[in-house]
Structure formats: C-alpha cells, structure tokens
Symmetry: C2
Subunit: 447 residues, 2 copies
C-alpha cells in the first residue's frame, strides 16, 4: 500500500527528524527535488561524531567538528530548519508534534540515532558519562582535566592514584580511540605541566565484555589494536563485565574473579539503546522494535503499515543484507539517507528503483597519533599506513564542512607540537572547582 499523497496545489512535503549523517544526507539529496523539506533537530548543529573523542580529550574544539545545520542547507531553497524536539507522531493525520507546534508531512524520515545503554543500571550514567553528543564530549573533557588538577592538589597518595585512574567501559571503536587519546594525553601532552604528579603514572584501563576489542574487525586486526594500545600504556581487560560503579570505584567481573578498582573517572562507550523516537513510533504505529529498541523496517526503510514513514541510520534495524543488521556507523546512515531521498522522488514519479545496496567501505579505528587499524574490502592494514588512510578519509568526509581548513591546520599544529589547546574546563552556570574534603594543611612547592 503506497499512501504517499501527491497534491496538485502544494509541493509534496518531506519532514526529516534528526540532523545527523542520515537526516542531513537525505536533506542534501532532496535539495533539487520538487518537494518542500523541513529538517528538525534538537540542536542547531550537525556533529561529525567520529571525532567526538578528540573534543573529549582537548585536541579539537566543539566548533571544529560541528557545523550549523542552517549553514549546511542554506543553499537548498526548498529546505527549512527548525530547532525543536518531537513529542509525538500522528501517523494517520500525518502530523509531527513538537511541544507547541504541529507540522504536517507527506513523507516522514526519522533519523534520531541511538544512545548508550547502561544495561538497566541507569543510575550509572551520572557516574560514567557516555560519548554520543557534543555535550557528552565536553563533560568528559571536564572530568578528565579536573581529575589531573585534583590529583595535583591531593596530598594523600592513595586518593591521588584514584584521581589518576581512568576506566573506559566498551572496547568498540569509540572506546579504543578514546583510550588511545587519553594515553597520549597522559604520557605526552601533559607530561611537563604538573609539579606534584607524574601524569605518566595515570592508569588507563579499557574494559571489554567479549574476547576481542573492536569486535567487528577480524581477530588479527583486533589483536594488533590491542598491542598498539598496550604500547601506549593502556591496560586492556577483555572478557570482563561491570557489576557496579560508585563515585570512586568500579567493580569488575572476569569469569569468577571479582575485582574492585579505585577510580574517580569512569567513561562509558558500551551498549546501545535507540533514542526515544523508537518508543514514540512503537506507541503510535505498533511497529516492532529489536532488543536494543531499534525500529524494524521493511527493505525500503518503511514501517510495515506506513509507506510514507522512513526510519534510517542507527535508529533502524535493517537486517536484509547477509542476514546481519547493518552496523551503526556514519557511512551506513549516509547511504540510507541518500537512498530514501531517491526513493521518495521515484515514488512521486511513480517509478520503481532498485532495492537498497550497501557499499561497505570498511572499518577504520585510530589508536593514538601514529597507529590505526583498517579493514577495507579485504585489505587490512595496521600501524602508520592505516593511520594515514584514516586521516585521508576523515579529511574527505570533512569536505562537507565549512571549517575543514581550520580543522586541518589545528590538527597539523597539534600533531607537530603535541599540544592540545582545547583542554579548557568550562561549565557555564556552574562552578568548576572541585575541592577535596581533606583537613587543611599547608601546601608547599616541595610537597
């Protein structure tokens, strides 16, 4: 049943919710189509998510990896941007409801992504922030640099070590890249900055539940990634699960062995949970969700009962290729966005296009400044060559961005000088100083 309404008087109206890779690519591929497009996002900017870990470790500024949505689509004369949050959807009246607005649509594209999953322990989220948004990255940056500052002030050696212990939960790409960048920070960038601590004493522990980190890679690359991390001073603990997190401890279970680590900074990149949109959709349309809450779509990314609602990107559970769900990475979202943009146009012309084909550009993860692992169409690299390919591909994608020149200069500068200029502890409206609950004591340079 194709219920896409084609009105004669006004153009077909496409509403896109989410300005990530999926939503943005859909908008870009509708720019010349005879449709009106409304792009809705909670934020006024698009984020180049693969580089969030660089913001989290002070290497890049938020603006370096973001671009205002309005700038990105300003030449699309058929497109408007609306900053707002979708509360409900009425699929029969074809309305998207914001808090104080209703917006009508003919076709609706939903691309609001996923967030982390704390395996039912939502209270851990405050103690162990994730890394999905720019705000997350700023919060991690704040915690990391506050930890070093506090260690510098702390006189009790045990507590000092607590502040210098960083546990990262999740050995996927984000966790591996974050661990590598943290290790370089502690062992390189910061090493001459402190007087009372040796930042190279920092313990960085990467905890992963299954046997191999980077589970989407072939095992030999996964092993090389592990070796690269260990060379940088990261302790990699696989086959290990988290059973508790408190303000200054994390409890781990490896087989039957339970271990408690004193750590003030726990960062979380594990698990996956669909954004709230999936639940909204399930309630209003009855669509099935997978165990992570993602929306089970048809081969055309539609809901089974609504051919004018499309779900793409991380939010979609799409398992029609090799029987495996497509991974939650930027190239998948981009290709899906492009596909549904073409599909909507072909349906308006009452034409049929070929089914979606995913072109797998492979996997890429960077580990510190000189190493990466790459798995591209059977070519598998690690080390410096892989790192170079990673850089090239990121530059290529960043070509979408206004500020590519800046980011490249910034990077070249960081690379050459080993400096990380963006390591500011900023917390608008809140006092950034964490003081210790110690007894007063006279503090001298020789301490």
């Amino acid at each position: 049943m194709i219920n896409t309404k084609v009105k004669n008087s006004t153009p077909h109206k496409v509403v896109i919710v989410g300005g990530g890779f999926g939503g943005l690519y859909a908008a870009q591929h509708l720019a010349k189509a005879p449709v009106d497009v409304t792009l809705i996002d909670k934020r006024n900017f698009h984020v180049f998510q693969p580089l969030l870990y660089q913001v989290a470790t002070g290497g890049l500024s938020p603006a370096d990896i973001s671009s205002p949505l309005r700038s990105l689509v300003k030449d699309n004369k058929n497109t408007e941007v609306l900053m707002g949050e979708v509360m409900t959807i009425d699929p029969d009246k074809q309305l998207v409801k914001l808090r104080y607005r209703e917006i009508s649509y003919d076709s609706l594209i939903l691309a609001t992504g996923v967030t982390h999953q704390y395996f039912g322990q939502d209270s851990w989220s405050e103690k162990a922030p994730g890394l999905k948004t720019l705000e997350d990255a700023l919060e991690i940056r704040r915690r990391v640099f506050i930890a070093f500052e506090t260690a510098e002030k702390e006189l009790n050696p045990e507590k000092r070590q607590e502040w210098l212990t960083f546990v990262l939960v999740g050995g996927g790409s984000a966790g591996v890249e974050l661990a590598g960048a943290l290790a370089e920070l502690a062992h390189g960038t910061l090493k001459d900055d402190f007087r009372h601590i040796k930042t190279s004493d920092a313990r960085i522990i990467l905890v992963h539940s299954s046997e191999h980190i980077l589970p989407t890679y072939p095992p030999n690359l996964s092993k090389k990634a592990r070796a690269s991390l260990e060379r940088l001073g990261v302790k990699v603990q696989t086959g290990t699960r988290v059973i508790d997190v408190t303000e200054n401890t994390i409890t781990l279970k490896q087989g039957d062995k339970v271990e408690q680590i004193q750590a003030r900074t726990v960062l979380w990149t594990a698990g996956m949970k669909a954004s709230g949109m999936a639940q909204i959709l399930a309630e209003s349309t009855g669509v099935d969700l997978d165990k992570s809450g993602r929306v089970k779509v048809t081969p055309n990314f539609n809901l089974p009962n609504y051919d004018n609602i499309y779900v793409i990107g991380d939010l979609a559970y799409y398992a029609y290729i090799k029987g495996q769900p497509l991974p939650g990475i930027a190239p998948v979202a981009m290709q899906e966005g492009q596909y549904v943009a073409r599909l909507i146009q072909s349906r308006l012309k009452e034409k049929i296009i070929a089914p979606f084909r995913y072109i797998d550009w492979g996997n890429l993860s960077v580990i510190g400044k000189h190493a990466a692992v790459v798995d591209i169409k059977g070519f598998r690299f690690s080390g410096f060559l892989a790192w170079f390919i990673w850089l090239f591909i990121h530059v290529f994608y960043l070509l979408e961005f206004d500020n590519k020149l800046i980011v490249m200069t910034q990077w070249a500068w960081s690379y050459l000088t080993n400096s990380k200029g963006a390591r500011l502890i900023t917390t608008p409206g809140e006092h950034p100083v964490i003081e210790l609950e110690d007894e007063p004591s006279v503090y001298n340079l020789s301490t």
Copy 2:
C-alpha cells in the same frame, strides 16, 4: 615597614592569585628569579579577554582565545599552578586559604580583576548577562542564537519582533565591539540561513548613560565610532539609563522620557565592581576600597600596612599618574604585573628601582569587520586603517599563545567567507530548546 622575610633555607615564596593578564605577566617575569611561584586560579586557563565578544557572536571558539595556564608556564621550573578559589587571607600568618588548603607566602600578588555592576539591581544579572568570562561569552552566544531560532518558529509578528530585538547596555569598548559584531551577524552571516524571518529586521540598540560612547576616547573619535555603528544598523541611544529589566522588556529613561522596549535579549557591559577578593582583603587588612570596590594601593601596588601584599590589574585603584585612576585594560595589568615582579626581585636584593611608569599604548576598539577607532599617543585613526592596526596589535599579543596560527587561519577564513562556524548552542547538562507557550498550530513552509 618592609616585612618581606628572606629565609636562607627555602626560596622566597611568591603566591599569585588570578591568571589574567596581570597575574600571568607577573609569573612570566618571575620565571628566572630565585623564588618559588604558585599561581592560583579558579579556572585552568587564561583568557584573551579583548576577544570575548568574538566568542559571544560565534566567530571564534573558546579555545581560540584561551590557553591552559599550565602550558603557558610549563617552562618556568620555579612555578606551579593550582586550580582553586581563595576563601580568606591571613596577612599576619602570611597564609592564603583555599577551601581545604592553606598556602603560605612570602610575597602575595592579587590580580583577580573586576566584574560588571548592575547598580544595585543584582536580579538583573540573570536577565542581562555580562561579558567578563568565557562562560559569560558562551551564555551570550546561546541566547543570541536561541533568539534567532525562536523568532524563526514564532508565528505572532509582535513576539517575533521581541525575539529579534537585542539591547546592549554600556557603550564602552566591550559594548561597542559586541554591537558591531551582532549587527554583522544579523545583516551578513545569517542572512540566507532562515526562511520565515529576515535577520536584517533585527533591531540592535546600544544604550549608554553618558553623552558619548567610548568615553575614554576624544569626542571626535567617539562620534566616528557612533557613525560606524549606525552604518552597520545599530541604533545608538546615549544619555539613557536603564530603570527596569524583565524577561521580555527593558525600560529606559532618557532625560524625562521613559520608554519600554519589548526585547528578549538584553546584554550588559556597563558598570564595574571589584571581584570578591577586594572584600576579603578589606576585612583581613582594613585596606580602603574605592566606590567600585577596588583596592586603594600605594605607589608600589602594596597595601598601606602590608608591603608584601601587592594588588594589580583591574582590582587595583591606582591614581598616582595624572591624578586619574589607570583604566581597566590589558596593557595596564601587564605592565603592573611586570613591575611588581621586578620590585619583588629588587627587594630581595635590597635594591631600589624607579617608581612605576605607565606607558600608554592608547585605545583601540573595533567596530565590525572593516572599521575601528584608534587613539595612540596623539595619532587618531578611524575606519579601515584603524581596523588593520587593531588586527596587527591583537596578533602581536596573541603571539603569547600556542594557537596563534589557528586563530589567524580561523580569522582569515571567517573574514573571507563571512562565516561564523562557532555558532553552536551548547549547554552541557541542560536542554537547549526553548519552546514557545503558544497554542498548537500547523506549521508550513509557506507560513
């Protein structure tokens, strides 16, 4: 009475509170001296304050105008940095008290600066944020871009105009520069970004209490600055005082005329009030404060009763040159920092140095991208030449910074493309969406 204690066993200990221009320059000029230096700041970074307005209007990122204090002094082997806030001072025991720490000193340099003054109406501070810190700049940035976003969504033309009205209180350098940048944003950068509003409809009103804006300049330059602002579309209202501020109005009084303006965004750069340190000092040492709360120092920047406590920068009231207090600008703070660093060293050697002389490098304010006013030692410029001098001097000062290359590239880029890439609405931990309290209504692109 010189009670500077010179101990034989341990080096003379200098504690500096505040990592602005004054404190930082003092630290830099003590780098090679036979003293131990502790630099204390609430923040972990130094900010190039003259460019805060660029962050507030999305032209530069926080990290572009900031530098970690630790990086700046990392080659000073005698210097440690401590992140913390001073609660009290014990001048007799020579102790500075942080929340959970006491730090002893032989010489103490206080350089914690000033903040804005709401003329007794402290409740206005929430409605009309100032522009003294990086957090202030981010808050202003958030409000400015939220205002445009909300105007775009608003259907009621009156309310829409409310969101498009920006009132700036204070016609000093910060207010003038902010007004110029806002005008360029509305009339230039953003003009193709919106579909329902014309950003050039934005009203930007600069309110100033006395007759001439930029009161430290000669009247003819002040008039030229006013003309430049008016060319950019800013309405300049002199001889006008604020009598009330609410969430969406500001009430002004010009002579006997009282006028209420509907405006959602009010920004404040007027008035001056010493930071809390002045009060701490008055209580512990009995020193006199001026009407803005600044510390009245001796010709050597000491307290009358304590020759080992120095107060410099904006926090000091220093009126020994031409009977006028020195202005609260970066060059004054830098020269004072340098002077007290020399003075401390000379006193350790029991030598006498010449009294402080202030070298007046003049005044400089930039108005938009192509105009400025400059008053340097009798040479007075305005227009493009002045703007070029302004740029040169800023580059010169930024040479202290790690990231000068980046900032220059960023600027060149912004200048050439007229883009402002840093216009992100980020609010860690808080939802950035402001929704309107309207009745729901269907929202179409043609609205």
